[in-house]
Amino acid sequence: MMKDEKDRGRVEVKNGRYKISGRFHIIEPNTPIFDEDGKLAGVTNPRDMTYIHSYGGEAVFFESLGKGKLIASRCDNPDCEGYKTIFMPFRIHCPDCLMRNTHVDITDRAKTNARVHTFMITERTGAFNTLPKPVKFVNVEFDGVATILMGSLAVGEPKIGMRVVPIFRTRDPTYTILDMLWVPAGTKQEELPEGYTFD
């Protein structure tokens, strides 16, 4: 069950501080737990909470998804053993030299050479899942990128080695990793989930 729009907790940053509005928790009384003989075993402790989370230096990645862009990061420190290594998932800092990485747009690279490294399919998701079932993980590899991104396939059946392209939730983005999904190369716009586009 989703909260009504008017009840949703909202947060802004003003003067370097969080300013909150809306409802962040709904109070619900506890209930007792009895056994089959009517003896008390315990109680429920209802909790409805909303966390406030900073993306920090990763915000540019999550903001870019809604604009149809896939932003990776690269170590540009010539003295580092990881010089010119491109990271996707995005890393704010190089894990070797800890210098701040440079942002790199790899959208075109993803559109032309992304492939499924491995995958899985599940009907059993955990609580709070918002993806339609079955969920299909695809781990996507790109030429020239050191790491392998985890994502979700929105159309078709996954297969190791299959070419995939990213699609972006450019309409009403959630500003989460779910703003980018993957589809097999050759998928048509009309086959995409609502709100998602290729650009």
């Binding site: 053993e81 998932p89 490294h117 059993r124 609580a127 899942n129 969920v135 050191a146 392998i148 989460t176």
Partner: protein, 475 residues
């Protein structure tokens, strides 16, 4: 590419030897609606005291510091859970600390307790772990566990941790299993074995007589992993008492040498970079030069097929203790079989088999108590306790349970601790009519691997009978 400096690869040298004096466990179950966590911890500590003919009060007099393994505060909605248990165990004002490293929490708790004795800070430490996984609905439990993945990059993708192992299973099946159906059946054999051993363990709640076909027909959790491929979600507690040599021999005539090592790797498989395979003492420099030719895709290390943290924990642990070849120097192992696939991956990471050949450990019958092909003792029996699939996975307790189970074989007291009619009755479980004594005869040395996340933390606990301690070659 990731490289490691000589300083990072230095082999730990402890200031003094450390001994496992005793250990104990509670009953393990999916839920304990009628028991608080402290009751389970006291059950475990009481069993440990009785094992060396002490009362809990007598045992407590030796403890100088306490280490509490408890992974998930949010399962119980209780921060500082370790302070609650410490109070209920009546151990104030002793110093204590909580340890949290996901699935490796139990092993990490032993690691800390071990180092404390080895350093001389304490002569006797308590390592006790528990988990309370029954106090939220299962789907919320799955979400909470998935929070051990990267919450921005991975958790939103289904909120299901099994998925992160399923992608590894798929890749391993393709690369090293060569997409053969026979490999899938080998995975299933592990579940059959471990659930079968669980039947002989009164503490276990996953014991069941099943077949390979049952595993292959069980519901898909995250394809290709099915329900019987997966570990249990459990509640329970396990503890161990560690001491220096003088104190250990004051407490018991039969302490066991214990060494614990640890290593780590990124919590997201997606973040793994390619590197050279670090070598164990039983491997050679050029051994893996043609790995990619023999197993296309295997040239990517650790990729989605290996666990660097397990390899490095074994590297440190083997070199700390003088293990040259685990199959020759050890008599049994307890491995972190969170999933059948990760069990196979670990055989290779810790050098029981070379990379690419993990399946042969099962197919040869070496991993069984009694080799089903020869009827002779298995060369290196694995997970006689039932492991995480057949016994329990009460996260904070698991690594401690594994070490205590290995030790009970070295003590030669496995049958006493698992066959006792009174214990079966007290745990309200029926001892099987075909109950079998699974004591590994003549066991002198063993290993327990405790593992977190998708390999974020791994510990290696090596146990040795004091009369059969390996020569490290540098003393």
């Amino acid at each position: 590419m990731i490289t490691f400096s000589d300083r990072q690869l230095r082999i730990p040298r402890m200031s003094r030897p450390v001994y496992l004096v005793t250990g104990g466990m509670s009953k393990f179950a999916r839920a304990f609606p009628r028991k608080r966590t402290e009751e389970l911890c006291i059950d475990a500590l009481t069993e440990a005291a009785q094992f060396i003919d002490m009362t809990p009060a007598e045992l407590k007099k030796y403890i100088h510091t306490a280490y509490y393994g408890h992974f998930a505060d949010h399962f119980g909605d209780q921060l500082l859970g370790e302070a609650v248990i410490h109070d209920r165990l009546g151990l104030d004002p002793l110093g204590n600390i909580g340890i949290k490293t996901g699935g490796a929490t139990g092993g990490s708790t032993l690691w800390e307790a071990f180092k404390t004795v080895a350093s001389g800070y304490s002569d006797c430490t308590l390592a006790i772990g528990w988990e309370r996984m029954d106090e939220v609905p299962t789907d919320e439990g799955n979400h909470l566990i998935s929070c051990a993945a990267d919450k921005d990059w991975e958790t939103p993708l289904g909120h299901i941790y099994t998925g992160y192992y399923a992608v590894m299973a798929q890749k391993y099946w393709q690369v090293y299993g060569k997409e053969e159906e026979s490999f899938r059946r080998t995975m299933a054999e592990i579940a059959v074995k471990n659930r079968g051993y669980g039947l002989m363990n009164p503490h276990a709640h996953g014991g069941k007589e099943i077949t390979v076909q049952d595993v292959l027909d069980s519901p898909v959790v995250a394809y290709p992993l099915r329900a019987y491929d997966c570990c249990l979600m459990s509640v329970g507690s396990a503890c161990a008492i560690l001491a220096d040599e003088r104190t250990a021999y004051e407490m018991t005539a039969d302490p066991i040498r214990i060494d614990v090592s640890a290593a780590s790797h990124t919590l997201r498989v997606a973040g793994r970079r390619n590197m050279d395979i670090p070598l164990l003492p039983n491997e050679t420099k050029d051994q893996y030069d043609d790995l990619g030719e023999r197993f296309p895709g295997g040239e990517r290390y650790p990729g989605f097929t290996g666990f660097l943290a397990a390899r490095m924990a074994a590297y440190y642990g083997y070199n700390m203790t003088g293990v040259k070849d685990p199959s020759e120097d050890l008599d049994l192992v307890e491995l972190h079989d969170a999933f059948t696939i990760s069990d196979i991956q670990t055989y290779e990471d810790i050098g029981i088999r070379p990379y690419g050949e993990g399946r042969t450990y099962v197919e040869s019958g070496d991993c069984y108590h009694t080799n089903p092909q020869t009827g002779e003792p298995g060369k290196l029996p694995a997970n006689i306790s039932g492991g995480l699939i057949g016994n329990m996975h009460a996260v904070g307790a698991t690594g401690i349970m594994q070490a205590v189970e290995v030790a009970q074989h070295i003590w030669g007291r496995w049958a006493e601790m698992h066959g006792d009619e009174e214990k079966w009755e007290r745990f309200e479980r029926i001892k099987p009519g075909n109950w079998k004594d699974l004591q590994v005869k003549g066991a002198k040395r063993g290993l327990a691997i405790s593992h977190a996340g998708v390999g974020s933390h791994v510990t290696a606990t090596i146990l040795q009978h004091p009369d059969h301690v390996l020569d490290r070659g540098d003393e």
